[in-house]
Amino acid sequence: MDESDISFFKDGLRLDGRRADQLRPIKIEVGVLARADGSCYIEMGGNKVIAAVYGPREVHPRHLQEITRAIVRYRYNMASFSVEERKRPGPDRRSHELSKVSREALEPVILTSFFPRSVIDVFVEVLQADAGTRTAGINAAAVALADAGIPMKSMISSCAAGKVEDTIVLDPMKEEDNFGQADLPIAMTPNGDITLMQMDGNLTPDEFHGAVEMAMKGARDIYELQRKALVDKYSKMVEKTGQEEVHACD
């Protein structure tokens, strides 16, 4: 993290014209895949991410089974063409870590005890990356879990705050992430229980406090969009009266 010579603000606005506490444009679509039990496509700024949920289903290999609950698996994966310099296919150390913390961001709200000996698989594909892929992935995955009918205590919404030019900003984009002073992604329930928290960079305790509050505000706004996307899809289904939703090709 070097600030180098970049200036991150112009006339009080950020390089992409946002205020410090403003989210990038977000678009959420539910049920975009036919084979998956639940799915969601999200755009957050330049990020394009798709999530699918399969399950509850049988666990392979068997020895991973838990007698009293479903296990949750989460696979964060970047497409080779999603980044400036082509990424080698397959998981690297970064994606292993993100998969772990993302799973731990969602697992607290999933009612795993309803499905002993089974697995709930969450697959997240980053098709285009632009800072914030982990938060976008969690947001999409949470909606896909709901779309799959997985019982959850609540929704999960995720957003990051950053620090550039000693200012706390919401939802950092690529330049702010690369050259900023800190990055702090969180995920939480609508009533503010934090399920993911990571941070790197350099923050005073007060700045940390401010960044958490700002990220939580962002997550609350995202929650409204997630909710709306699910309601919209449900409304459309209800319109087609008598027509049951079928998860199948064609």
Partner: protein, 260 residues
């Protein structure tokens, strides 16, 4: 889950009985493709990209380019590297991990179409003979497997290549330019069941009629690739019939989607 298996067995019976009566379960004629849509330039970070929908099947192909070393036996020609990721998001039967036999076959067939049709002018991709040439990475990302992802992937590959800009300026190699494309290979896949031939199989049709023949044709109507797959057999006459259908269908698709 047992329940799913029962449903899937019932569904298979249903399709099977339709096929015996000479009908496809979704009402298509035997030589009819599902609806095709191609959206190009969907991934800004890629040099070229295309999202292909074939009915409910969805395949995203991204093309990346970067300078690299040529192969020793072709010092002044660019290099094509094709990879396919059958990510587990796309089907309950796909598993995480390196490409399996099926993913490798798919990638190699997509590659064969591009390579054998000479669609890319590889000589034009030489930067310094014997030292530096352009590497063209064709990455196929299957998003939703509702059958016949091979044809969709091949279509996505050529569509993405046709929208590819060589990123010369990023590497200090002059101005960007459009990747020169000289041919438009089209892959069409036909399945055989009870001596009935059906184009563009859906995922359940694939499960039942496990004999497939893929024919890749060039713009002038020649054949540049063929591959039988599955554990069935084909009579030579069936092969020749499939080739006739394939050549005609490929022409239609090429004209409708790629020469517009």
């Amino acid at each position: 889950m047992p329940v799913t298996n029962v449903i899937s067995e019932i569904k298979k019976d249903f399709i099977y009985n339709h096929l015996l009566k000479g009908e496809r379960v979704d009402g298509r004629t035997f030589d009819q493709y599902r609806e095709i849509s191609i959206e190009r330039d969907v991934i800004r970070k890629a040099e070229g990209s295309a999202l292909v929908k074939l009915g409910s099947s969805q395949v995203l192909v991204g093309v990346k380019m970067q300078p690299g070393e040529p192969f020793q036996d072709s010092p002044s020609r660019g290099v094509i590297i094709t990879n396919a990721e059958l990510v587990p998001l796309a089907s309950p039967s796909f598993e995480p991990g390196p490409p399996n036999e099926m993913g490798i076959e798919l990638a190699r067939l997509v590659d064969r179409g591009v390579r054998e049709s000479k669609a890319i002018d590889l000589e034009a991709l030489c930067i310094v003979p014997g030292k530096q040439v352009w590497i063209v990475f064709i990455d196929v990302h299957i998003l939703d497997d509702c059958g016949n992802i091979l044809d969709a992937a091949a279509l996505g590959a050529i569509a993405a290549l046709m929208s590819t800009k060589v990123p010369a300026s990023r590497f200090g190699l002059g101005e960007d330019y459009i990747l020169p494309i000289r041919d438009i290979p089209i892959a069409t896949t036909t399945i055989e069941f009870n001596d009935v031939l059906m184009l563009d199989p859906g995922v359940d049709e694939e499960a039942i009629a496990n004999t497939r023949l893929t024919i890749i044709t060039t713009a002038n109507g020649n054949i540049c690739g063929a591959q039988k797959s599955g554990t069935g057999m084909l009579k030579p006459e069936q092969v020749y019939r499939i080739i006739d259908i394939a050549c005609e269908k490929a022409k239609e698709i090429r004209e409708k989607f790629l020469e517009a």
